[in-house]
Amino acid sequence: MNLSCIMRDQKYSFGSLKEVLAKASEEKSGDIMAGVSAGSYLERMAAKVVLSNLTLQEIYDNPVIPYETDEVTRVIYDDINEFIYNEMKSLTVGELRNVILSHDTDSHKLARMSQGLTSEMIAAVAKLMSTIDLVLASQKMKHQAFCNTLIGEPGKLAYRCQPNHPVDLPEGILYSLKEGLSYGSGDAVIGINPNNDSVESVKRLLTMSHEFITKWKIPTQNCVLAHISTQIEALQKGAPIDLMFQSLAGTQKGNEAFGVSKEIIDHGQALMRKHGTSTGPNIFYFETGQGSEVSLAADHGVDMQTLEARTYGYARHWKPFMLNNVSGFIGPETLFDGRQMIRADLEDLFMGKMHNLPMGIAPTYTNHMHSDQNDQEIAGILTAVAGANFYMGVPAGDDVMLNYQDTSFHDDASLREMLHLRPLTEFEKWLENMGIMENGRLTKYAGDLSLFD
C-alpha cells in the first residue's frame, strides 16, 4: 500500500490508511479536537491524492478498527457480498468517483455496487467529492422502505412530526401534533422524544399517539424515541409500537456508551415481529450524526466522517424504515459553524444512500454553535435537491424539549412547494380529505390546530 506522494516537489508520507482518511477529510473542529486533522491545506490535498490512488482491496484489507475487536467492523464485513466486491476490488478510489458520477451509472448499478462496498470505501470516495458531486450522486439514488406506508418514492418528500413538550404533557404534545398535521407534517412518522424515559411514561405516549392515529385514520406510523431497552420493556407490557427507535454510533465502544449492541437490536427486531403494530418489514428508525464517537471518547483516532459511514454500514444490517442524520446536534466542538454542518449533511446523505439506506436529514444547529437559521435553510434546500426522503417537523423550528433548532413545519411546506414535491401518497389523500391540501398546495385551512376540534 503506497501511503506517500510527491506533490509540487514536496514529499508527503502517511503512517496508516486511518491517517490518510482523517487528513483527507474536509476541515471539521471535531477532527481537530481529536488531533487527527491535516496540519495544512496542502497536506489535506496530499492525503486526497494518496487516497485517490489506493485500491478498494487495499481499503478492504485494512479496516480502520480491527474485525476481531469491534462489532461494527464485523457487521460491515459479514454483510458484504464477496462476488460484487471482487468485481470492483481493483478500482482505485479516484476511479470509483468517476464511475459513480458517470452517465453510464444509474440507480440500479449503484444499488448493486453498494453491496460490495465497505463503509470505509464509501467514506473515502466522499472525501474526493465536492458539493455538486455529492448532490448529483445522491440524486441518482432513492431508496424505498415500508412500515405502514411506503417512503422514498420519486417526487415525494415526507416529514416526521416532532411534537415534543418539556415535561411530556400529553395534551401539550397533542396540540403540537395537530399543528404539525395541519401543515402536512407527519407522513414519515409521528415521533415523540420523551423527557421521562421510564417505561410507564413511554407506554403512555405510545398509546396516546396510537389512539390518535387510529381515531383520525392517519396513514402513518408512531414512535417514541426512548432508549431501545425501555421500548422493549414497553412493548412486552403491551404498548403499541409501529417503529422502534435507537441512536447508533460507528464503533463498538460508541454503541456501548449508548447502551446498545447487535444482540439488543436483534432482540428488539424479534420482539417487533411478534408484538409490533405495523405491517413492516422495515420497523426501525435509527438516528446518527457526525461527532458522537469523538464526544464519547470512542473514536479510536478515526475521523468523524469515516465513523459516520461505519454507522451506516452497521445500521443497514437491520434494513430500517428511516435513517435520520442529525449532524449539528452536538455543538461547535464537533462541527464549528454552518459551513461544516452543511458539508457534513451533504456527505452523510450521499454516504447513507451509497449504503442503500432510506435517508433523511435533520440540518440542525445549537445555540452555542456559530450558525443560524440561514445556514440551516441552505442545508435544507441542498439536501432536498439531492433527494432526501424526509426531514423533521418542529413548531417554528424550536424544539422546546431538546433545546436546539431543526426544520420547521413552515420550512417543510416550503421545500415541498419550492421543489414540486408531494407528501407520501396515502397521506396526501388524507390531507385532501381533511381540507388541508389541494393539488399539492396547502389550503387556507392549513395551520389551524383547531381543525381537530
Binding site: 473542529s29 479536537m33 413538550h165 418539556p166 415535561v167 404533557l169 395534551e171 401539550g172 404534545i173 396540540y175 403540537s176 395537530k178 399543528e179 401543515y183 423527557n195 424515559d197 417505561v199 432508549h227 431497552s229 425501555t230 420493556e233 456501548e256 456508551a257 449508548f258 447502551g259 469523538v294 464526544s295 464519547l296 471518547a297 455543538g331 461547535p332 466542538e333 464549528f336 445555540n367 452555542h368 443560524d372 437559521q373 413548531p395 417554528a396 423550528g397 424550536d398 424544539d399 422546546v400 424539549m401 431538546l402 433545546n403 436546539y404 433548532q405 420547521s408 413552515h410 411546506a413 412547494e417 396547502l442 387556507k444 392549513a446 395551520g447 389551524d448 390546530l449 383547531s450 376540534d453
Partner: protein, 284 residues
Amino acid sequence: MNKNQIEDIVSKVLANLGNTQSPKQPTQREDDAFHFSKEDVIGVENPKNKQTIAHARSITPARIGIGHTGTRMLTSHYLNFRIDHAAAQDAVLKDVDEEILKQLGLPILQTKAEDMQTYLMNLDSGRRLNEESETWLKKNGEKGKQVQVIVCDGLSSTAVEENIADLLPAINQGLSLKGITFAKPLFVKNARVWVQDHVAQIVNCDVIISLIGERPGLASAKSISAYMIYKPNEKTVEADRTVISNIHEGGLSPVEAGAHLSDIIADMLKYQASGVHLAKQRNQ
C-alpha cells in the same frame, strides 16, 4: 448586534412598509423608539376555534398557533424567533455571577478549561479539575459520604443563577428525610458532565449528582439537567448515567425536582446501580 440596533432595523423595515407608527427621523430620542413587542400573538387567520388555540398555547412553550403567509412565518414571529436565538447565543458566553455562589456558600473549583473558547472547543479540558482545584478538593472535600452534589455552569450560567437557590435546599431536604448522608456541595466552573467522575473518585462518594446548565434553548435558557451516577470508574460509559433534564420553572420545577431526584438517588443506593442498569432493575 444589540437590542437597540435590532429595534432600529425593525422600525426602518416597518417605515418602508408604510407603517404610520414608525419614526420619520433616523435619529430619535429614547422614548420615541419603536417598541418591538415580544408578545407572541395568535397568527392563524379565521381559525375554526380561536379558544382552542389560545388554550393550546397556554400549556406548551412550543411555537404553535402562529399562522403563516404562503408557506412562511409571519414577520413578527420570524423576528421574535431570531431575537430569541440571538439572546441564547449571547447567554452561552456569560459567566455565573460569583455573588450568588458566595451567598450559597459554594466553594468554586475550576476545570482545565481556563477560558470559554477552550471549554467550547476541547471537551477533555472540561472533564478534569485543574491541579489547583484537585489539590484543594483532596485536602478540603468531605470524604466518604453517600452523596456528593456538584453545581456546574455547563452551557448556561443563567440556568445556574435561576435555579440553584431553590434546587439545592430541595435536594438536601429530600436526602435528609431519607437519612442519606451528603457532602457539602461544590461549584465547578467550565465543567462538562464527566468531571463528576473525577470529583467522585477524589471524595469517594457512592452517588454523585451534577446539576449542570443545559445548552440554552430558544424558549428558555434557564434549564438545568441532573446527571447522576453510582460509583463511576474507568469502565464507566454514558449509558451508566441517569439523567433528568428540563429542571426550571416552566418544566420540572426546582422544588419538585428535589423530591424526584432524592427518590432516584435512594434507588441507586438500594440497587447499587445507575443508568440503564438501574432502569432494568427498577422494572423487574
